[in-house]
């Protein structure tokens, strides 16, 4: 998956699942869109579906400081690379 593909898929998830349309890539999702801890947990489920594999406990913990779409894409990119290697 390329960075562009990840970003495109995440923006679709945000539109369809979280009803957040075209968020700025570096906008703080919590401050701007009330994206809360429940949404974050739902997002992890969506990421598992996207990757086709379960996230480990440590991988989930590593997501806790994520605040923006760009950070989400960085996170998924790293996970995808790890699964290839």
């Amino acid at each position: 998956m390329t960075r562009e593909e990840i970003q495109s898929k995440i923006l679709i998830v945000f539109k369809e699942e979280f009803e957040i349309t075209n968020p700025g890539l570096d906008e703080n999702l919590t401050e701007k869109y009330d994206f809360d801890s429940i949404d974050a947990l739902e997002l992890l489920g969506e990421i598992e579906t996207l990757l086709g594999s379960e996230l480990t406990r440590d991988e989930k913990k590593a997501s806790m400081d994520i605040r923006t779409i760009n950070q989400i894409c960085d996170y998924i990119e790293q996970l995808a690379k790890k699964r290839i290697s």
Binding site: E19, D36, I38, L41, E42, G45, E48, T49, E54, L55
Partner: protein, 411 residues
Amino acid sequence: MEKRVVITASAAITPIGHHKDEVIDSLVNGKSGVKELRDDKLLTDRVASKVFGTVSCPIEFNFERKYRKTMGPVAYYACQVVKEALESSGLDKGFISSGRLGVAFGSTHGSPTVQRDIYKTFFSHSQSKFSSIGAVDYLKSMVHTTAVNITKMFGITGRVISSSTACTTSSQSIGFGYEAVKYGLQDAMICGGADEYDTTTVAVFDNLLACSTDFNDTPHLTPRPFDTKRDGLVVGEGAGALLLEEYEFAKKRGAGIIGEVIGFSCNNNGGDLILPNMNGITETIKLGLQNAKIGPDEVDFVCAHATATKMGDVAEAMAIYKAYGDEPYVTGLKSYMGHTMGSCGVIEAIITLYMMEQGIIAPTLNLDEVDERCSMIRHTKKLRESDIRIAAIQNFAFGGVNTSLLIKKFE
């Protein structure tokens, strides 16, 4: 010091209508809300009872996603009726979030629709280990899902009581809410209950041979409380909310007062968890009268639990006669709607308030021939123009829980 507790707003979603006019029209014209059981692709083929108290009116649940995301259907129902009740009450947002308004709300269990989805995940043959249970599934299926979704949606910060005692869920909600206001713990309580379409409940009662099956082809002819041909209860869905306020507080803010709660009792049969118990019911009726500080002759109308089971109706009729004699009119409102489970107490209280306001007493539907074992009480057999000054609403639940609520026309 004990305070007076008045009712200042109500809202209900029932099988015989969503708004007051629709409900009254159904009562006056003898319209039943019992319909053919909807197919759930899971249990409906395996249960003998094919009838259900069905909410068929369109309801626009236009909640924002931030509220919706933690709700199953039962919480949608709950939040909708609370929204309508709070809107009609005129309470300001400052008070709602002041900590002086509490919530007493429940359901038989959390959302069974969501629970079924969780079980499907467990018992499906999918090899997938990820994304199996959603992060919010617990919040939708936990037993206090209605109460806390209400607190979140309306920013309520007062005390939370979430009764979950099957058929006495919402009568307890009103009773416990009444006590919270009566003893000065809160200035107001939003009280009620909800239950969604659920075939698991139908299957449970069906297995106990307690569900109606003889009228599968003519759903409107069942249930038949107190009638010789009654053959069991009909499960239903619905929701209701009542706003209770301390009288001086309500008067000061100029609230419209639609009734007064003057007493409540709750006891347990102390034995069998399923069988109805005449002594237990009689005792809760007497305790309710004591709590209201009134005599049995002051009650004009008894809104009976009357599920239309063979034994339950007889035990209840005997208890009513023992406690009240044969003076008050008795109606079983489940004859119109089926048994809306956790919401039956509040829905029946609201309909009683409607009848108080309209000066009518609706008859028990489908009561063609009174079972002689139930004949000692004064059944409402036809629509009556009659003032109800004090009404008793009684409900009984699996687990041997009994409640009696005494409501007075506001004067």
